[in-house]
């Protein structure tokens, strides 16, 4: 009998505190969103939108069991739905008046459910670490259980109903829309680029210009490529898979034995410096100028330009220095 707690604890970690279980929970949330979308009369495309979230929910729930070709076909279906303009949102918004009233009643306590998410995330990462498990996975599992904990705390604190909560979640989800799955698609694009040998091709092209033993020029090309691709595409997340497969891994990380975490994250934010300089990143640079009724629609970019160029140069120097030092 004294063995029981230990056994059930390890069972908990092998069955419940797993990524698959958290994917299952997220899938269930998506299935609830989908069912609410199907009956949302304020959404003119409720059928297409509902099917989109339903299929994504199925991929989340069964993704580890389904054959890959089926998942692949479902992904193509999702993207076709979005491409045909069938994914959209309802027009219902939360009442502003209600919010102000509740804000007075609950005060700062309304932060508790939101703060529960990072606290649980961090706690899981720590516990995984202490048990000798992967702390990266701990953070992700913790994010899932943090979401659940926040739901429970939120319901008890506000006295709201579960239905209301899921409606509000769906509102946020639909506000982002199909773009939600973009990082997943971009990572998949990176995998296919690698399988097709695109990375090797870009690498060999760059090698014809830059000698393989000139680390500084390679780092410069890496950060410049990242910034330029971001400036053209307006999205550093889209640029990253291309630069990582074509430049960073084959020309810097592999030959020089560089710490991959360090080099990769610095390369990503070298792209963020590009985002600050480009009208293509309209959400961040052009839309705000419109929101603020600025006379010059490029006013935000002009203000950010000296900052962006300086911090980009810092990326080049830092990456080069850390490779030499570490």
């Amino acid at each position: 009998m004294t063995m029981m707690p230990a056994v059930s604890l390890s069972l908990l970690f092998s069955r419940v505190f797993t990524l698959d279980f958290v994917y299952l929970l997220t899938g269930l949330v998506l299935l609830v969103f989908a069912s609410l979308t199907f009956v949302d009369r304020s959404n003119r495309r409720r059928l297409g939108s509902g099917v989109f979230w339903l299929v994504l929910g199925i991929i989340f729930t069964l993704g580890s069991l389904m054959p890959h070709w089926l998942t692949g076909l479902l992904v193509l279906f999702l993207v076709a739905l979005d491409g045909a303009g069938q994914v959209s949102r309802g027009s219902r918004e939360t009442e502003q008046k209600d919010q102000a009233e509740h804000a007075r009643r609950l005060g700062d306590r309304i932060f508790i459910p939101v703060l529960a998410i990072p606290i649980v995330t961090f706690a899981f990462a720590l516990i995984f670490r202490l048990r000798g498990l992967d702390a990266s996975r701990g953070a992700l599992v913790g994010l899932g259980f943090g979401g659940i904990a926040a739901m429970i705390i939120g319901l008890r604190l506000t006295g709201g109903t579960a239905r209301m909560m899921m409606e509000e979640g769906r509102r946020l989800n639909e506000a982002m829309g199909a773009v939600n799955i973009l990082p997943q698609l971009l990572a998949s694009l990176g995998v296919i680029f690698t399988a097709a040998g695109v990375g090797d091709l870009i690498a060999s092209g760059i090698q014809q210009i830059i000698p393989a033993n000139n680390l500084f020029l390679l780092v410069l090309a890496n950060c410049l490529g990242m910034a330029l691709f971001t400036i053209v595409m307006g999205n550093s997340f889209a640029a990253f898979p291309v630069i990582a497969t074509g430049v960073l891994v084959p020309l810097i990380i592999k030959p020089y034995g560089v710490n991959p975490a360090m080099a990769a994250i610095i390369t990503l934010t070298a792209g963020s410096s590009g985002t600050l300089m480009t009208p293509m990143a309209a959400n961040f640079n052009i839309v705000p100028a419109a929101l603020l009724n600025m006379r010059d629609q490029y006013g935000v970019i002009k203000f950010q330009l000296p900052f962006a160029l300086t911090i980009w140069s810092f990326h080049v120097l830092l990456l080069w220095l850390l490779i030499r030092v570490l």
Binding site: H68, L76, T94, S136, G169, V179, V191
Partner: protein, 248 residues
């Protein structure tokens, strides 16, 4: 370079042109993946299950593009896990989360326009650290930070009116503070989009990096972004002060 090599690059070109033309992003990315795979001579499906020996669709011994797409998409579900946090955040918003956050910011008494931007940027870095994803331009900058900045500028220039060119510069500074805090601060949490994207892409390339290592190595960049912003916004304050003296 051979022609077939150049054809392989068509996927990169499709992404660049498609996104530059503002075509639907999801569609552009998947078309680029399919075209790249097909032009590289990869089959659509792996030669197994009921696709076994199907002509045109499969090639012996090669993994299909659709199979690779499905596996990569399933492996990278972790990037979209944040959906599970939306019901709780939505509920909190209905019960006044944004109003309360606004009240929190209003309690800040920054004496100058520049200092207010620094405080707001730090607030956004803190949001990132807590794993909160939000676009602050519509929710904080327009309704809150801009009026507060204008108030600070008017208080300083008393009794003079703030000239319209100065107001334009203040607006630009507001938007910049949001972007600086958001872009660099978000990587301080292991469950944010950028960290998970890097984690997933590097895994696909055969490098298992820890999300906590990614967070660790972004710290110098975050510190640099804050220091640079402090310099830029302090210079901004200095210029506003000099402009006022010129007018007197």
């Amino acid at each position: 370079m051979h022609l077939e090599d150049l054809l392989k690059l068509s996927g990169v070109i499709i992404v660049v042109i498609g996104l530059a033309l503002k075509l639907r992003t999801t569609l552009v990315v998947v078309v680029a993946a399919l075209v790249t795979g097909l032009l590289a001579g990869l089959p659509l499906f792996s030669n197994e299950g009921f696709f076994q020996d199907l002509p045109y669709l499969t090639k012996p011994g090669q993994t299909g593009i659709i199979n690779t797409l499905g596996r990569a998409f399933a492996d990278n579900r972790l990037m979209t896990l944040f959906i599970i946090t939306l019901p709780a955040i939505g509920l909190a918003e209905k019960y006044g989360l944004q109003e309360q956050a606004a009240a929190l910011i209003r309690r800040v008494h920054a004496a100058t326009v520049g200092r207010l931007q620094i405080v707001y940027q730090l607030f956004r870095v803190l949001n990132g650290l807590m794993g909160i994803r939000l676009n602050g331009h519509p929710s904080f900058v327009r309704p809150l930070i801009f009026p507060m900045s204008l108030g600070a500028a008017r208080a300083e220039s008393n009794p003079h009116e703030v000239p319209s060119q100065t107001i334009e510069k203040i607006k630009a500074a507001n938007a910049a503070a949001e972007n600086y805090g958001n872009f660099y601060g978000q990587n301080l949490s292991p469950v944010q989009a950028g960290i998970l994207l890097v984690f997933g892409v590097m895994q696909g390339l055969g490098y298992v990096v820890g999300v906590w290592d990614l967070v660790f190595y972004t710290i110098p960049i975050v510190v640099a972004s804050i220091l640079l912003a402090i310099i830029q916004f302090s210079l901004f304050d200095h210029r506003l002060r000099r402009d006022r003296e010129v007018r007197r």
